[in-house]
Amino acid sequence: MFKTFIAGILLGIVAAAAALYFLSPVDQYREQSLIVVHPNQGNTEVFHVNVPMDRIMVGARAQQNPLPAGLEWPNDEVLADTRTELFKIRNGKDAVVGVASRIAATNEISGDIVEWVLHLPARGSVYGILQVEPTEGGFRRGELKAGTGEFAPLRGPLTERWIADTSGDEDAPAGRIEITTAFVRERVAE
């Protein structure tokens, strides 16, 4: 019986080690990536934010109705001209695939900015810097400044555009912010 007990101890050690080795404690859920490959070797992926449903936070000093309710945005002069927003972001099938932050600010010393960080947990993150003034058609154009995960080796442009809803449906969003990325793998000199 004592030998059985000792065998049980060894079996317990091996089973616990095997369970921790083989069982993955984290398995992020993946939505299908909807990337369109174009004939000119570029490829685009379109994300969007339904406004106001996907807005998590709007942080700005002049905000009369803070979002979320109960948000106490600091009344500090330093943040006077800074607008900070958090969103859920969706893919072309309208499925939530990540979260995003947008910072828009004016400042005489550090300059005016419009920036996005898109965070797609199963894929990586995108840090994009846009031009402050929109071009014709309401596009704000910019570049991928840095990426993580699958976006780390990529380079290329991204655009932001506000599209107002014209469907007239009762439960339709007011509109959507469309973010189009056109990233390609950075060529490495041989």
């Binding site: 079996l11 050690i13 859920y29 979320p68 330093v78 695939v97 979260v99 910072i103 550090s110 300059g111």
Partner: protein
């Protein structure tokens, strides 16, 4: 026959417990408390933030986790692709508690988590804006093994379901080879910056029901000096 089965089951329980005890006490997974950022000759930008959810501007998660979202009406991240993700927005201050800017952080459980080797990993990014200075993006992998071992497990063992003490640890473990975060400058004086950073957590109280009760975080960002061109010998 039954007594052999009981002996085997008892042995299994003892073996599993012994293995978990070994894992918990494994000195090889001890935290590296020294970071290259702390001994650098370059300037270091220190940004402080509250690490308790209720002291942040917002904190949100799937709504079912230990730490409750703040404020209570904030949108929760319940959709499957973002269910293992937390989002925070917080004010960033200097050591004199003066507001320097705002920081937004997304943290997702990492699929590289490996409990056997003491790697409880989280992939996170910071989006930071400091008016008058510029913007920064920080990418890092964090390891919460020391935090869980030194705070969370002792709190669960405590009869009052809490922990009190003084704990300070580096939570950044990569992607830099020396366990540092990657920092990319976006605009202003940080434009073009490629540097390293380190996130540190200091905790004084933890509750099993609420998570961290008294804690602060700090980001240390190395700002490389601009080397002046050597003057040619006349």
């Amino acid at each position: 026959m039954i007594k052999y089965l009981i002996a085997l089951l008892l042995g299994l329980a003892v073996g599993t417990a012994a293995f978990l005890a070994l894992l918990y006490l494994n000195p090889l997974t001890a935290q590296n408390r020294l970071s290259p950022i702390t001994v650098t000759d370059n300037d270091v930008l220190h940004l402080n933030y509250p690490a308790v959810a209720s002291n942040m501007l917002i904190y949100t998660n799937d709504g079912e986790s230990q730490v409750a979202p703040h404020p209570t009406k904030v949108l929760q991240l319940w959709e499957p692709p973002i269910r293992k993700t937390d989002a925070i927005a917080t004010v960033l201050t200097n050591s004199r508690s003066q507001v320097l800017g705002v920081g937004l952080k997304f943290s997702s459980d990492s699929e590289a988590t490996d409990i056997l080797n003491g790697h409880l990993l989280v992939d996170s990014v910071w989006h930071i804006y400091l008016p008058g200075k510029g913007s920064l993006f920080i990418e890092q992998q964090e390891n919460y093994w020391s935090y869980v071992r030194d705070i969370v497990i002792p709190a669960r063992w405590n009869s009052g379901d809490n922990w009190r003490g003084n704990w300070r640890g580096n939570i950044s473990v990569g992607p830099g080879a020396l366990g540092t975060a990657r920092v990319v400058g976006g605009s202003g004086i940080f434009s073009g910056l490629e540097s390293e950073g380190l996130e540190t957590l200091s905790s004084k109280a933890y509750s099993v029901a609420q998570g961290l009760v008294a804690a602060d975080g700090e980001l240390a960002i190395e700002i490389p000096r601009i080397e002046s061109e050597p003057t040619p010998d006349p």
